[in-house]
Structure formats: structure tokens, C-alpha cells
Amino acid sequence: MFLIPDFVGRFFHRMASPPHFYAFTEKLMPWLVVLFLLVTAAGLYGGLYLAPSDYQQGDSYRIIYIHVPSAWMSLFIYIMMAVAGGIGLVWRIKLAEIVAISSAPVGASFTFIALVTGSLWGKPMWGTWWVWDARLTSELILLFLYLGVIGLYGAIDDKRVASKAIAILALVGVVNIPIIHYSVEWWNTLHQGPTVTKMDKPSIHVTMLVPLLLMALSFKIYYVIAMLQRARVELLQRERNAQWVKNMLAEKQ
């Protein structure tokens, strides 16, 4: 614990308390939304207007500004879900369980967006909506993993037990993450190789790279907003009999 500053520890300790979490996220929300709108506006302006057309793909490449950040988010959120699930499994922290299940629909949505926009990009560029290659298939499996987590959670009535079950499922499914990431290198595939993560020399021009990174940031902020909105519902449902919920209702009337 000596590596973590004291105030960070205190912050997480307080956030693990349901009434504090509920009140804090309510105050945080407008700031997150303003930040999200600013970053998204800048990203879209840069990507759809300022950035030049691609010399090979014309304007169809502009799908990249949502396709690639969505695909990144599909992996990032999965890891967040597995880590939060793991923390809930080991330390039985209720808020970690709630973050894990609240991440699932957002992750599933980004996976769905990555698949559909990929298809809409593949049709004009590859001449086909879909191929059963490594990248596309492993991303589709990721969508099924998310849907499996959501389905499993819904099927178990005791939400503490359900959280244990989905944490185990999510942790097992982590195997799929490196497979998705390296699929374009390990197998011959129609999907193009990485253009950005070659950090030494990204094969993308800076006028295209900056909006792409802005959109990646925008989707990260969006994830926090959407996940917290889900978490607030989940928290209320679990804490319906708690005194702080009763007090809050009494104040509103």
C-alpha cells in the first residue's frame, strides 16, 4: 500500500460506500457530460471535416473514427469488467460487483458498433459484409461473451451469487482478448494490420491521428457516463431496503 498515496486510498474507500457513491456520481455527471460533448465535437470536426480523404479509400475511411475507438473500447471495457469482477470476487466489495455488471451492456454496445461499422466499411472496401476470419470471428465471440455475462446475471436471482458467477465467466473469457488483438498478426486475414499502436512509427498522418485519439478519449468518457448511469440503477435496486434510500425518498416527498 506504500505505493498508493493516502488520499487515493481514502477516495476509493469512500467511493465503496453506496450513499456516497450515489451522491458523488450525481454531482460528477454534468461535468462528465460537458467534457464528453467538447471532446466529441472536436474529434468529429477534425475527423469528418479537417482531415483529408485517404489516398486509397477516399472518404469511406472516415468510418475509422468510430470503428477503431469502438473496437478499442470493446477490449478495454471487457478488461475493466473482468478486473472489477475479480475485485468483487476476492474482497466482496459491492461497488466492484456493480461496476462489473454495469460495464457489460456498454461493452456489448461498443462490440456491436465495432462489428456493424466494420461491416459497413468492409462492403465498399473488401466487397463483402462479412468474412469468417480471425479478427472478425474473435470479435463476434467477444459479443457473445458480453451477452453471456448479461444473460447469466439476469438468470440468477441472488445478485451476490450472480456477481460471483459473472466474474468467473468474465475472467475465463479474458483469454479471448490477446487473441483479438494479435489476430491480425498471427493469422492471414482480410482485416488490415494495426496503424496506430505501432508507437515508434504509426502509419497514419497526424491530421488523421489527432481526431482518432480524440474520439478514443470521447468514447472513454462516454463509457464512464453510461456505466455510472447503469451503476446507479443497480445500486438502488440492491439497496432498496437500506436506510439511506429511505431517507432520500423521504426528502424528495
Binding site: 471535416y49 472518404d59 456491436f112 458498433i113 459497413l120 448511469q229 438502488l236 432498496r240 425518498l249
Partner: protein
């Protein structure tokens, strides 16, 4: 660049705008649904509380 050129997306308008439109719908739904669910749930809780008082 004129506005109509912008919307034409060099002939790829269908693919580009369908992608962006669909993304917008999915992302909006992920915000609206939980807010609506929370309001519904709070309303049902408040009703229960009132009933138990009577």
C-alpha cells in the same frame, strides 16, 4: 467544400452516415434506458413507502 459535397462523402454517404447514425442511436439508448429505469424504480419505491405508511 460545399455542404452537399460534405454529405456526399465522396460517394460513400450511405456507408459513412449509416455507421455514424447507428452509433448515435446505440450510444443514446445506453444513456436514456438507465435514466428511465432509475426514475421508474424510484417512483415504485416511493409508492410502496406511501402505502406502508397508510
Amino acid at each position: 467544400m460545399t455542404l452537399s459535397e460534405f454529405f456526399a462523402m465522396g460517394g460513400y454517404a450511405f456507408y459513412v452516415w449509416t455507421s455514424y447514425g447507428l452509433t448515435l442511436i446505440v450510444l443514446l439508448a445506453n444513456i436514456i434506458i438507465p435514466i428511465w429505469q432509475r426514475k421508474q424504480f424510484l417512483r415504485s419505491l416511493a409508492l410502496k413507502q406511501q402505502r406502508s405508511k397508510q
